[in-house]
Subunit: 160 residues, 2 copies
DNA sequence: AGCCGATATGTTATAATGTATCAACCCACC
DNA sequence: GGTGGGTTGATACATTATAACATATCGGCT
């Protein structure tokens, strides 16, 4: 079972899978998947939702590590650069990637009520390519974030 | 002359035009276009680029007003709600709208070097509608922000 | 072995961005 | 002449992020 949209999925398997993929990727690319990075990634995977940097920091501290903000931000920089995690600009938060391995620039669907975040398959760069060309703009990255209500919160709102 | 993409334009005219449109809109809708809001809008229009809230605050203070952060954020909330300005999530910054009056959710082209921001004509909601439906997501707003190099900075980079 | 350079981490302090709260004010309206 | 909604003033605080510098770790090189 894999995560798709806001559906349920096999949590444990998806965590193990993502961690394994990250391991392999780092080994192949000669990158250090150090304890700090591993722990932050693990926390993100376990939460399975967008977390603020300081939420992550708290978890690290609970885990016995005497960590400071830079530790978290450095680990996040690494994870973002490798495509293992994404930053949700709208929330100033970070989330583990749902489709590890594949280089991509997904769109995000963000529930304004429960803050659940889903990756949506979108050819973000493709969508903007034409517009950018027309403006003479050299496109490098595209961020698409949609806000609204996830299926569960939408149903709940209708009942009320 | 109107602004389009990163082209030059008649600055003074575009400011006067935007301010006039805002005046009319507020009068018609029975909204108060108060001095605080007016000043913040004027500063944004004059800068003609994305500004952080505290940059705006500094300008207000230079203008003799003994302002505090909430003043700026309240004014920005108003301007955003009326569509007179946009928030650039990527920069935690705010910019006056290039096409005042029309209700819209544009895409933005952001130069990573000079931080110039252009509004691009994009039917952002339309682009995401299908994806959202498929996920059962009730779409409310869509933010699209592209980062790269504006024409000027791109040329400069190539020369180097 | 000893050193070097690159990369990663530890630590302190501080910058930058954004809000909560409550009092005061203004003004249209009853 | 209240009264109530919307706006502003002012203090304090919360949240998010980075600068700066010291230390550690490790692989390659001589």
């Amino acid at each position: 079972m894999s995560e798709r949209g806001f559906e349920q999925h096999d949590h444990a398997a998806c965590i193990a899978d993502a961690m394994g993929t990250a391991e392999r990727h780092c080994a192949e690319a000669g990158l250090q998947f150090t304890p700090a990075r591993r722990e932050v990634f693990s926390i993100l995977l376990g939460a399975h939702r967008a977390m603020g940097a300081y939420d992550i920091l708290d978890r690290l501290k609970e885990g016995g590590r005497n960590a400071q903000p830079p530790v978290v931000y450095r680990a996040l920089d690494f994870l973002l650069a490798q495509g293992f995690a994404h930053r949700i600009e709208r929330l100033n938060a970070y989330i583990a990637c749902s489709h590890p391995g594949a280089q991509h620039a997904p769109a995000f669907l963000i529930c304004r009520k429960c803050e659940a975040v889903a990756e949506a398959p979108a050819e973000t760069a493709g969508l903007m390519g034409g517009v950018a060309d027309q403006a003479g703009f050299r496109l490098e990255t595209v961020v698409i974030e949609a806000e609204g209500l996830c299926p569960a919160c939408d149903r709940e709102e209708k009942r009320a």
